[in-house]
Amino acid sequence: MGSITLNKVSKSFGEAKVIPSIDLEIQDGEFVVFVGPSGCGKSTLLRLIAGLEDVSGGSILIDGQDVTGKAPAQRRLAMVFQSYALYPHMSVRKNIAFPLKMAKMDKAAIDQKVADAAGILNLTDYLERRPSQLSGGQRQRVAIGRAIVREPTAFLFDEPLSNLDASLRGTMRLEISQLHNQLKTTMVYVTHDQVEAMTMADKIVVLNRGNIEQVGSPLDLYSSPRNLFVAGFIGSPKMNLIEGEYARSKNAKTVGIRPEHLVLSHESGLWTGKVTVAEHLGSDTFLHVEVEGIGQINARADGEFGARHGDQIFLTPTETKLHRFDDKGLAI
C-alpha cells in the first residue's frame, strides 16, 4: 500500500511563502508527476513528502497514518536524487545494500536482494565498482537500485533524468515506466520537462508559484486545460494563444489552438500568413507563420508539407479543437 494524502500543506522559508496551501490525493500504485517551471515549488513539495523539509502547516498522511512529524527514515519512502547522491566511498554492491544494512537485515537476505535488484537493472557486472567508475546512466540505475531493494511504500524521484543526455534520458524514461509496471508501487516524480510528464504519468499535477493549477491524466490536461497557464505549459510545441478581434468573435478573451490542430494548405484557408521559419524534422514540419491580423502562429504539418522561409500559406483552425478562456484566464 502506498497512498499519500496532503492536507492543507504549506511551507515558508523565512518570509518567503513557497507553498501557500496544497491539498492532494495520491492513490496507491499511481505514477504521479509534479510538473511546473523552475521555482514553482515542485521539489519543495516532494521534499516535504520525503520529510527532508518540515511543513510550516497542514499534515501529510501515508496510508492513512499521519507522518507529519516523523523523520524521513520512518516514512518508508525511497528517493532518487537528481545528482544520484551515491555514496562515493562504497562499491555499487554496498550502495545498494546500504538501506538494508540500516534496516539490520541479515547478510544472506541482503545479498539475495542486491543480486535481484542488480539483475533487474543490468548492474550485475558492475557490483564491485565504485560510483566514480560508472557512466551517468549506470549511476542513475544504482540510485534506483538502492531505492527498490527496501521495498518502500512509494518512490520519490527528484528530476532524476536531468543530468543525462537526451538519448539516455529517453531510454531511462522507458526503464522507469517499465519498473513502475513491474513493481506497481506508488511513484511521485518531479520534473520540469513536460515530455517526461506526458509520457510517464498516470496523473499530472501542474504547479505554478506553489499552487496546483490542475490535476489530471496527461490527455485530460492536453484536451481540456483548466486555464491559460496549463494550456501554455502542456503540449509541445506550445499552444497558440490569440487575443483581439478573433477571440472576441468567439466570445472569449483568449482563444487557444494547438499547432497540430491547424489545417495547412498552399491554396486556400481562413488565415493567410507568411512562413518566417520552417523546421523540417522529417516526421513533422514545424512552421512559424506570421498571420495577417493575428500575429505569430506556430503550426505543425506532416513531414512532406513543403514550405520555406517567405512562402505564403493558408491556415484553418479546427473549430472543435478551439480552447476559449475568459478574462481571468479560466477555460470557458
Partner: protein, 274 residues
C-alpha cells in the same frame, strides 16, 4: 624559439626555487651542523665544517634525559588532537549542515581568539592552573593545547564538511540512517582525508607549541619544547648542546611531516584548489 624561452624560464625558476628552499632550510641545517661541533667550535664563529662529534647528543641524553620529554610530547600532541577532534567533528558537522544565521559569526569569533596575544591571559590561566592543581600535569596541558588549537580544527573540518554534497546525507537519511549512523557510515568515511590532514596538522601545532608548554610545566609534564629551553641556563648558553637538543626535538615531527606531506598539502589547499 618559444620552446627555448620556456626552457630557460624553467631553469631560472628551478634555481630560484632551490635557492629559496635552501634559505628557508638553512637554519635547520645549521642547527644540525652545530649539534655535531664541540662547544668551543660552536662559539668560535660561523663555520660550516663541524668536527663531527656526537658527544653533545650523549651528554644531552645522560644529563637531562630525552625519553621523558619525548614521551610527554607524544602524549600531549596526540592526546590533545584526539580530544580536539572529538569536540570539533560534531561542532563542524552542525555548522556545516544546519547553519543558523549566527554560524559565520561564531566561526569568526572562534578564529578571533587566535588573534589575541597569549600573554594577555597568562596570569589568569596560571592562577586557574595553580588553584585546580593542574600545573605541571599532562592532563592540564592537554586541555590547554586542545583549547588553543580547537578554532583551527573546527575551521578546517568545517571547510571539509562543506565540500560534501548535502544530497548524499539526505540520501542516507532516506535510506533509514539515524544521526549516528549518518556520521559513522557516510560523513566520516567521506571526510576521512580531511580529518586525517587536520589530525596531522594539529599534531604538528601541538608538538611545536612552546608558550604554554614552557610556562605551565616544570619537570613531570615538560615536553621537548621545555627540554630545549632548559639548555639556556643562568650559567650561560651551550650552543652545541642546545642544537643537539633542538635536533632531537624536531626530528620526530620532521619525519612525520616528511611521510605525510602529500596529505598535508592536500589538506591545506582543500577547497581553495579544485
Amino acid at each position: 624559439m618559444a620552446r627555448a624561452v620556456t626552457n630557460r624560464h624553467k631553469v631560472i625558476a628551478t634555481i630560484a626555487a632551490w635557492l629559496i628552499a635552501f634559505v628557508i632550510f638553512f637554519p635547520i641545517l645549521y642547527t644540525l651542523l652545530t649539534s655535531i661541533k664541540t662547544e668551543s667550535e660552536a662559539i668560535a664563529g660561523f663555520s660550516l665544517i663541524p668536527s663531527g662529534t656526537f658527544e653533545n647528543y650523549i651528554t644531552v641524553q645522560t644529563r637531562n634525559g630525552y625519553f621523558k620529554p619525548f614521551m610527554n610530547s607524544v602524549v600531549l600532541s596526540v592526546g590533545s588532537t584526539i580530544l580536539a577532534l572529538i569536540i570539533a567533528v560534531p561542532a563542524a558537522w552542525a555548522m556545516a549542515f544546519s547553519p543558523t544565521k549566527w554560524t559565520k559569526e561564531i566561526l569568526m569569533w572562534m578564529l578571533s581568539t587566535k588573534m589575541m596575544p597569549a600573554v594577555a591571559v597568562l596570569v589568569p590561566i596560571y592562577l586557574l592552573f595553580r588553584d585546580f592543581g593542574l600545573l605541571d600535569t599532562r592532563i592540564g596541558l592537554m586541555v590547554m593545547l586542545t583549547l588553543i588549537n580547537l578554532p583551527i580544527v573546527v575551521w578546517m573540518l568545517y571547510t571539509y564538511f562543506r565540500e560534501i554534497p548535502g544530497e548524499i546525507l539526505e540520501a542516507a537519511r532516506m535510506d533509514g540512517a539515524g544521526l549516528w549512523q549518518e556520521i559513522v557510515y557516510v560523513l566520516t568515511p567521506m571526510a576521512l582525508p580531511g580529518i586525517a590532514s587536520t589530525f596531522l596538522l594539529n599534531i604538528i601545532l601541538a608538538w611545536n607549541e612552546s608558550f604554554w608548554t614552557i610556562r605551565l610545566t616544570a619537570v613531570d609534564a615538560a615536553p621537548l619544547t621545555a627540554f630545549i629551553a632548559s639548555f639556556s641556563s643562568p650559567q650561560g648558553l651551550f650552543w652545541a648542546k642546545l642544537s643537539a637538543a633542538s635536533t632531537m626535538a624536531i626530528a620526530p615531527i620532521l619525519i612525520l611531516g616528511w611521510f605525510s606531506q602529500k596529505q598535508l598539502v592536500r589538506g591545506l589547499t582543500f577547497g581553495a584548489v579544485k
